[in-house]
Symmetry: C2
Subunit: 461 residues, 2 copies
């Protein structure tokens, strides 16, 4: 009998208690982007430190200028690899709160079909439920074998949803302590409910806030309309100019460093059967908004974008106000691929915007994080082992995919620790992460735990 | 001695009490556009009814489907004209409240220079201070002469700042009661602090709220960016397309009914000495935003505009959220001149917007009032008399001007009561109406009262 079989049995027996523990973590309002929830973020970190100590990790809360990190160490047998596991305990804001069917911080199990159960709550899938799959796998392994199969370092971050301002300095300052043979990052999804996935590419991200200021006060649009500059008009022009009619981004230099994806990769993606209809239909859309002539998987995995994440200006309350606002602002982000340089993109956007601001108006920018895209090597031996371990656990074999979202830590591990990452996660596309009514499949939480036990065994074989 | 001299003396003696009364009205939070303040609007109407009854008017509060009207009647000598005086007791919202130097509903007198006093508070100039100049003139005339020099009907509205939805039905239903020889409308300004003005044209207004809906939920911009339509991008494109590079509005048919202003009128406006520098400098701007090659007075008095009064979509809180919103919306308004048809403009804008909405997105419109521009006849005998009366009161002779803001009631008086209006008011361009720190000149409140006494005398001479 392999070392993993009794661990899998133990995970099955422990499952109800593991769910209770997850609920404890989900109840903590660790919204990192809003300073009002700083104490809750700290509470989540403290909760994790306590859990890891119970398992036998040497765990500690580590202060940063922002929200704290959690770092934990556990020895393994001589000669076994040293793995760094990464997750994040912070969550997205919950607005619009009125669209939630239940309190986002009162987690619950909901049966949404015959035998089909999900865990609901903010962070259930992104990323608290995911990180706990690994914690539970370690707990069960330790209970069964009295130790772990390899040396494991755990790093839990509390600022993933707000641009990870403290991560790079923390990795730099603690590189010796954190460097491992490779990293396991659990913040991605499965291909479908039965098919696990290992993600080999991730888009980078540049976030910018742009504020246009016209007059030095709000104006009556009757008295000044036709004479005074309107910052909403200026801002709308900047944003509208960013895309041409074919969905290309028009900012000069934007596509520098973007490569065409190899045709055999594009072919394998096409064979997954995803179409505009299957991808966009479930969210009520049907027409890809990006560059014409490319598949939805290529658009979201291997092409860069410009997105407008928020806009506000003037009177936005009930009724109407005939005002010309003094200011208008937008939150803009760019998803990057391949070798696009975040800071060059940021500078190019700023220059593009400045050119469109009238001489008597002003524009200011506020950066919100930046990270390059990453592309893992297709021939890593770890990749092959993990693929087999996942294929052993799930109904269908694991597939190799790309990811549209940014996980800056993977690039940072590369840059600061010289370490590649294996991206394995158990989220589903319909988990509504970042949206109201976020959920995590009960099967993801259960078989996710079992998957990690199998992966630990495979990687140390 | 003319009938007006003792009335002017009485106004001077009564002035301090008149200021106290105005403060009582300014303290009432009659924000008509926000339903949360409906009770305050009613309170302001009741306050006015009580004041008018004290003077001797047959005054009553008249319910409407929205905020109530105040109607008051007072007889005059046989053969004297019948005048309708109009003002509005509702005020604009106060946001952004943090920019007010003092509580907008705690009115105060502030000395802003040697002997230069102003009254501060929301509504001080627009329109509570203005309407009270007439009430005080009637009070003093009644006290001195025991009656009024002509038959006077007063109409105070409570929905002027929110599109006047109840006004037209009210005028129609009460046409016999309200029709007079002509109307006095006190909601405009002076040319400068020493020079009174009679306004002969007013721009009309069409208000529209546009909401673009893309996906049926908020989306993670990493998972869906590049594939899913972004409603902020769609909305920005619609708004940006409305103006060309020369400041013209590009909506087809928008300029139908717009006439070129006679050259002698343009000449007289040029002689007033207003330039882009003098007009825009005080608000921190310098470049006219409207159609190139036209003066700021022409742009604001005699040219139509498209303005964006508010915009909101996606995440607008602190920090950053990598979301693609389900919806984005904007409040858009058009200032109209001459014979532009509000409903044709509304329909043309809607068609223009619909053409720019992708087939898998939807757009909805919500109307916020509409009124055509008005243009008074230059040869009215009332105009000549009022001009002389004002010239007698103020340091400099009265001038004939246009107005950029909409006062729909003037068009409605024309349409429903067949009655022209004389537009006389004592506001100044720097009164910051609709903005934080609204004020009304103490001299406007005092000499405004005296002006009305003189005008009543002149019109009934």
């Amino acid at each position: 009998m392999s070392a993993v079989s009794p661990v899998l049995d133990r995970l099955d027996k422990n499952f109800d208690q593991s769910l209770e523990r997850l609920f404890g973590l989900l109840a903590i309002k660790s919204i990192s982007t809003d300073p009002d929830y700083a104490a809750d973020c700290r509470k989540a970190a403290e909760w994790l430190v306590a859990e890891l100590k119970l398992i036998g990790f040497d765990a500690s809360l580590r202060d940063t200028p922002g929200h704290p990190m959690v770092v934990a160490h556990h020895d393994g047998p001589a000669g076994a690899p040293h793995l760094l596991f990464y997750g994040h305990y912070d969550v997205q804001p919950v607005d619009p709160i009125e669209l939630w069917e239940s309190d986002p911080f009162a987690p619950a199990v909901k049966e949404i079909g015959p035998g089909h159960k999900v865990i609901t709550g903010r962070g259930a899938a992104d990323d608290k439920g995911q990180l706990m799959t690994f914690v539970e796998a370690c707990r069960a392994w330790k209970q069964v074998h009295g130790g772990l199969p390899c040396r494991i370092t755990i790093l839990f971050e509390g600022e993933e949803e707000s641009g990870s301002p403290s991560l790079k300095p923390f990795l730099e300052a603690n590189a010796d302590e954190l460097k491992a043979d490779f990293a396991l990052v659990c913040d991605t999804g499965m291909w479908d409910r039965d098919t696990p996935s290992i993600c080999v590419s991730l888009r980078g991200l540049v976030g910018e806030e742009i504020t246009v200021t016209a007059a030095d006060r709000d104006l009556h649009s009757g008295l000044y309309g036709g004479a005074a500059a309107n910052p909403i008009r200026v801002l709308a022009k900047i944003l509208a100019d960013i895309h041409d009619a074919d969905g290309h981004v028009t900012i000069p230099g934007f596509y520098d460093g973007v490569e065409e994806t190899p045709s055999q990769i594009l072919q394998s993606w096409l064979s997954l059967g995803e179409t505009a209809e299957t991808f966009l239909g479930p969210i009520g859309l049907s027409i890809p908004s990006g560059e014409k002539g490319r598949s939805v998987l290529e658009l979201t995995w291997a092409r860069p974008t410009a997105e407008f994440n928020g806009i506000i200006g003037g009177y936005t309350g009930k009724g109407f106000k005939t005002v010309i606002a003094a200011q208008a602002s937008a939150k803009v982000s760019f998803r990057l691929v391949h070798k696009q340089d975040p800071e060059k993109i940021r500078a190019a956007f700023q220059a593009f915007a400045r050119q469109r601001v009238p001489a008597d108006c002003s524009v200011e920018f506020h950066p919100h994080g930046g990270s390059p895209a990453i592309q893992l090597s297709y021939d890593s031996p770890f990749l092959a082992k993990a693929k087999q371990a996942l294929s052993d656990e799930w109904p269908k074999p694991a597939v190799i995919t790309g990811g549209g979202g940014s996980i800056p830590v993977v690039g940072d591990f590369q840059t600061y620790l010289g370490m590649e990452s294996l991206l394995v996660g158990f989220g589903l596309d319909d988990d509504r992460i970042h949206s109201p009514n976020e959920k995590y499949e009960m099967s993801s939480f259960h078989k996710g735990q079992r998957s990690w036990a199998r992966i630990l065994e495979a990687l140390t074989r």
